[in-house]
Amino acid sequence: MGESSLASFVQKSSKSLSILAALLALTIGASTGSSFAASVLMWIAINILMAASFRFVQLIGELNFAIAGFVGIGAYVSGLVNVKLGWSFFLALVLSAGAAGVISFIFGYITLKAKGPYFLLISFAFTEALRMIYTKIDYIGGNSGMIGLFPPAFLTDYYAMFVVAVVIAGLVILHQLEKSDFGKVLIAIRNNDAIVQTVGINVHITKVWCVVISSLIAGLCGALMAHANNVISPGDFSFLLAVYVLAYIKVGGESHIAGAVVGATVLTLLAQVALGFGPFEHIFYGAAIVISVLLMPNGLIGLFQKRVSKHG
């Protein structure tokens, strides 16, 4: 595929991204309230944002399995603030993103000294370690978690719409960051970090900021998710969550943020069909990853790109 057709595809698909987002908002508008359709749309939206946040760390060439940990931190902090302390919902959102950001700075500062397999294994262990901590603290419910996380009364009917709005804002921010100079540095680090270092850019701290930005968004996802499901438990934030997010990205495609949108939408909808079959959920996500890695290494949007370049 030529370089120019790729570029034009990217331009086209950022337009299609906004169309998709508008479509999603429209559907949600039609199904406000606590209907099942509204819940599914909320899950899709949150999964999309998680996938986009995971993909943001992929820009520096790392797989960040700690994303499930940061989603968990966001969910627990929002639960703590909203349920235990009784503070405002919006404050809970801000604090949960903030907490995930602060912890991710420390986490990233230490672990990003390692890279590749070391980083991904340690991020995987981080998620599992956090899950274990939640089960040990009785104040936040231990093994059974917390219940009664509700969005404020005036938002109850419009919560799905609110979630979609936040998700779209998050996607736009991530997309703009990727296109900015900062994003170009991130991709340069993935391609060759030694060269980036030689032109006087601090590679380590840039990578840390990349993880922090991704984790802020992940923390926000956690808070949104907690209030969408009304309950949280440690098991919701195991590494399995990160693996599902990986599946969204792999099925959708990594080359563009639209891949996160496509992958999360397709898999979340299909999983609704697969749900209720018990172990079938594992098989479903596992097979989704294996099939896309073996048969379509660039994901669904990769197939689309091929078609575009064939016809144009």
Binding site: L63, T111, A114, P117, G286, A288
Partner: protein, 291 residues
């Protein structure tokens, strides 16, 4: 003193199985540059097959010891076949692609675990003891079968180290792990060696499974529990390093038995994580990792 001996015995028996498990992981990484997230599923399949076969065979009037032996052989062969199939259709295409192979093996692991849950059911099984009785030793106590199985594990681990250190296959494996292009230039058939390395690792996981079958509670997710500790062991020790994997395994076994005694198993796992962070802070490529 009694407490010390007891903790030592516990550490010994835990580390023996971790060593077998992480040796396989580090071998695959060294030879193929593949982080095999599905390694735990080999271990799991072997255990699950034994858990089905042993009751079946004893119900057909076979003595317990022969039932275990027969079940272990069948289960290990089945595990090797699974390993060969996965190598042929999946891992072969992702050699030397760390991220790609990891992603694929994560998918495989999830897929296999789901299938295990489907076929073997979700009820955990505890098989009958192979050898009854306890042995007291300097004030510490250990069940006879744990002692025997730990002894066998240690013998296998040592002979595996000998195989890798001294035989022609072992030298070829190490040469490929060191620099596969140079090894290929020396006439070492990379593809065949990679297959042997992968099967050897599968075999190690299967042996670990067979040796643990009379001891642990077997469930479809048994592989994942060991997998995380195996990963921590090889990250601490240095990916691809054989002595590193042994050091790492012993270290986490010490933390698990001592920490588990004084605190709580979950806090011990947390302790492992903290230690891993500390090791990475000082040596980003693990204790024995180079470069």
């Amino acid at each position: 003193m009694a407490l010390f001996v007891q903790l030592l015995l516990n550490t010994l028996q835990i580390s023996a199985s971790y060593i077998l498990f992480s040796l396989g992981l580090t071998l695959i990484f060294g030879v193929m540059k593949v982080i095999n997230f599905a390694h735990g599923e080999f271990f799991g399949l072997c255990l699950l097959l034994i858990s089905v076969l042993v009751p079946l065979l004893t119900a057909n009037q076979l003595p317990l010891a022969s039932a275990y032996a027969l079940a272990a052989i069948v289960a290990m062969i089945a595990t090797l076949i699974l390993g060969a199939v996965l190598y042929q259709f999946a891992f072969k295409k992702f050699q030397r692609d760390m991220i790609g192979s990891f992603v694929m093996s994560v998918g495989l692991s999830l897929l296999l675990e789901g299938l295990f849950l489907q076929f073997f059911g979700g009820v955990p099984v505890k098989l009958p003891d192979l050898i009854p009785g306890n042995i007291r030793f300097l004030g510490g106590a250990i069940t006879t079968q744990r002692l025997v199985l730990t002894g066998v594990s240690i013998v296998i681990a040592i002979s595996m180290c000998w195989l890798i250190a001294s035989t022609k296959l072992g030298k070829a494996l190490r040469a490929v792990a060191e620099d596969y292009e140079a090894a290929t230039l020396q006439g070492i058939p990379y593809r065949r060696i990679a297959l042997y390395g992968f099967l050897l690792a599968t075999f190690l996981a299967a042996i670990a499974g067979a040796l643990l079958s009379p001891l642990t509670v077997i469930s479809a997710s048994v592989g994942s529990d060991y997998l995380m500790k195996g990963f921590i062991a090889i990250v601490i020790g240095g990916l691809g390093s054989i002595p590193g994997s042994i050091i790492g395994s012993v270290l986490i076994a010490v933390i698990e038995s001592v920490g588990g005694y004084y605190f709580d198993p979950s806090w011990a796992t947390l302790g492992m994580f903290v230690i891993t962070m500390l090791v990475l802070l000082i040596r980003p490529k693990g204790i024995m990792g180079n470069g």
